[in-house]
């Protein structure tokens, strides 16, 4: 009898396990900005995945008859081209949908490569420590002080512009932040009792790393990768705008802004809409990532809770005063 009481007290209360995802969703809905951000992210991912089905036109299809048509709500606009057409008669909306594909692909591949490289280096440096650690971290210090975009431009100038050159260069110039983060977490978790215990009972290094240390890294790494994703999107757009990134006939939002620049004074929509696509993408990701960062960090959660309480009390006081 006493034994079954004991096991009963050990089993976790059932709601805690079943409602974990549901409570995350309700928490997300509580933060309206983050929920809207996530909705936009899902929309953009959907457009990118199903671009051939969703886009009304081929993004490269030119039409002399339909050059520089304004968006539908303007005097000369037509329902055939919702966001108008460019100087070659290409449909702006279709180009933005296909551009989402280019932007997300470059961003995702670059983030994945940079995060993998950075995590491996960070784990290595943090786990082995000593001289390896100081050499690797010195390397990180040195590379962090490299002149970012300028060096990218130099490499692209030598190798010739192109999507894969850009991905390679952006990954090589962005891995350091991940290495720093991972290394910091690894060297602090190595000293915790449970990792020491695992080492004492004779776990192999691989098991210690993958079973005991890696789970601590996942959440901060994910948050960092999402925030870094926006940096990659902005960098890709800037390099493509300068003409050294994605090359025509491929599409990219940065490239479209650059080609619309010559028609800035007669066709404002060519520059405005691809630019807005970038703004909306980055803004949505930032809103969502901010929520994710606060939600997954216990210290931040506490701060947020305290802030909400203070605001509630202030409101209550004001109501009493009025």
């Amino acid at each position: 009898m006493a034994a079954s009481d004991f096991t009963a007290s050990l089993t976790p209360p059932i709601p805690a396990t079943t409602s974990a995802p549901r409570s995350a969703i309700s928490e997300l809905l509580h933060d309206k900005a983050a929920a809207i951000g996530l909705a936009f992210i899902l929309l953009i991912v959907f457009l990118a995945l199903f671009a051939p089905l969703v886009a009304p036109y081929d993004p490269a299809a030119q039409s002399i008859m339909a050059r520089l048509k304004p968006p539908v709500w303007m005097a000369r606009g037509t329902w055939e081209h919702l966001l108008g057409t460019d100087n070659l008669g290409r449909d702006v909306l279709s180009r933005i949908i296909w551009g989402a594909r280019a932007t997300l692909t470059i961003g995702a591949v670059t983030c994945l490569l940079a995060a993998t490289l950075g995590t491996v280096v960070g784990l290595w440096a943090g786990f082995i420590g000593g001289r390896t650690d100081s050499v690797l971290m010195r390397l990180v210090d040195i590379q962090v002080s490299f002149p970012g975009i300028l060096l990218i431009l130099l490499v692209v100038a030598v190798l010739g512009p192109g999507v894969w050159t850009l991905v390679a260069v952006l990954s090589v110039t962005n891995w350091m932040v991940y290495a720093r983060l991972v290394r910091g977490i690894v060297s602090s978790t190595r000293q915790t009792p449970y990792v020491e215990a695992a080492e004492v009972i004779g776990c192999r290094p691989a098991r210690v790393i993958f079973r005991h240390i890696l789970p601590n890294i996942v959440s901060p790494l994910l948050t960092l990768a999402i925030l870094e994703f926006t940096n990659i999107v902005l960098a890709e757009a800037a390099v493509s705008f300068l003409g050294f990134g994605v090359q025509p006939p491929a599409t990219s939002w940065g490239l479209d802004v650059a080609s619309g620049r010559d028609y800035l004074f007669i066709a404002w929509w060519l520059v405005t809409f691809p630019g807005l696509a970038i703004v909306v993408t980055v803004l949505s990701i930032n809103l969502f990532a901010n929520w994710l960062r606060v939600t997954t960090d216990p210290e931040e959660r506490e701060k947020r809770f305290a802030r909400a309480e203070t605001a509630k009390r202030r409101r209550a006081r004001r109501r009493v005063g009025a």
Binding site: R138, L150, A157, N286
Partner: protein, 306 residues
């Protein structure tokens, strides 16, 4: 302190050496400078002569030593485009870039402290929500797009300011403001976050309990405490402005600085000029890093130097 400066200088030299090695590998081993710099119509003999002139026929080690020696004496070769020493072009354009950065980052620093402080005094209030919304937008807007939109609104439609180029003070306004928005957003968010943390600390409550006015608490205690993180974040922004933002903003506004020159150099295949620009910027970045570390130490004597 002296030991720290020496160690920091040594690290700076390592950075410059790292940049040198990277540029060497990229330009000489991965790419082909002859094909890049000579026109397609160049004859085989011309190509060979050019290769010999820049030392491509030598062994790799000799090439690298010569490369390092040239850089140490600030000899980057002649710019193919301008037909004069590349370093001359760099020093001619550099002041324009520095002027733009001073105006842009200066505006960001001056606006961010009051904006961040006022937002922090009442988190969730009207000013705070407005500032945060504009800040989030500022972080999401690519500078080239912001610049073009600003040209359409303020130069073309309202005709208040010139569209591009350099000359009068009015020419500086749009590029400087475009450059300042991203750093302004980052600074303001940082000031706000650290102010909220500081204002909740016990010493502020003690000061208030003793009857000190809010402005005095801010001025004497709180702002001084956030100065160190502010210094380091503004250093980072200065570095990313120098090595990235200016390229885009100068291109949009045809501002004759180093960034625009870099883009023009690449378009003309002028490798020597591009190398000179990369080195001068790398050198400046290292210098800024060292100055910042020393400044932080001077502001906060508690900080450990290593």
């Amino acid at each position: 302190m002296l030991e720290f400066i020496v160690r920091r200088l040594f690290q700076g030299i390592l950075v410059v050496f790292g940049v040198t090695a990277t540029v060497f590998v990229v330009t000489r081993l991965v790419g082909d400078p002859v094909a890049l710099m000579l026109p397609l119509s160049a004859t085989e003999a011309q190509r060979a002569a050019f290769a010999q002139q820049i030392g491509l026929d030598q062994p790799i080690v000799t090439q690298f030593l010569r490369f390092v020696g040239d850089i140490a004496t600030l000899d980057f070769g002649n710019s193919l485009w301008q037909r004069r020493p590349a370093i001359e072009v760099v020093f001619e354009r550099l002041p324009n870039t520095l002027l733009l950065i001073a105006a842009g980052l200066g505006a960001a620093v001056m606006l961010s402290i009051p904006l961040g402080a006022v937002s922090a005094l009442r988190p969730g209030g009207l000013v705070d929500r407005l500032t945060m919304s504009v800040g989030l937008l500022g972080l999401a807007m690519p500078q080239f797009w912001l610049g073009l939109v600003a040209i359409v609104i303020f130069a073309v439609t309202l005709k208040w300011l010139p569209t591009s180029g350099m000359g009068t003070a009015a020419h500086l306004v749009l590029p400087a403001l475009t450059l300042s928005l991203t750093p302004l957003a980052r600074f303001t968010m940082m000031v706000r976050a650290s102010m909220i943390d500081e204002l909740n600390k016990p010493y502020v409550k003690t000061a208030r309990a003793k009857g000190l006015g809010l402005t005095r608490i801010l001025r004497v205690h709180t702002l001084r405490n956030i100065l160190v993180p502010f210094l380091s974040i503004s250093g980072w922004e200065l570095i990313s402005t120098l090595s990235g933002y200016t390229v885009v903003v100068e291109t949009v506004f045809a501002w004759p600085g180093l960034g625009l020159t870099a883009v023009q150099a690449i378009q003309r295949g002028d490798l020597f000029l591009m190398q000179a620009i990369v080195f001068v910027i790398a050198f400046l970045i290292v210098l800024i890093g060292i100055v910042l570390d020393i400044l932080s130490k001077a502001v906060d004597p508690r900080m450990e130097l290593n």
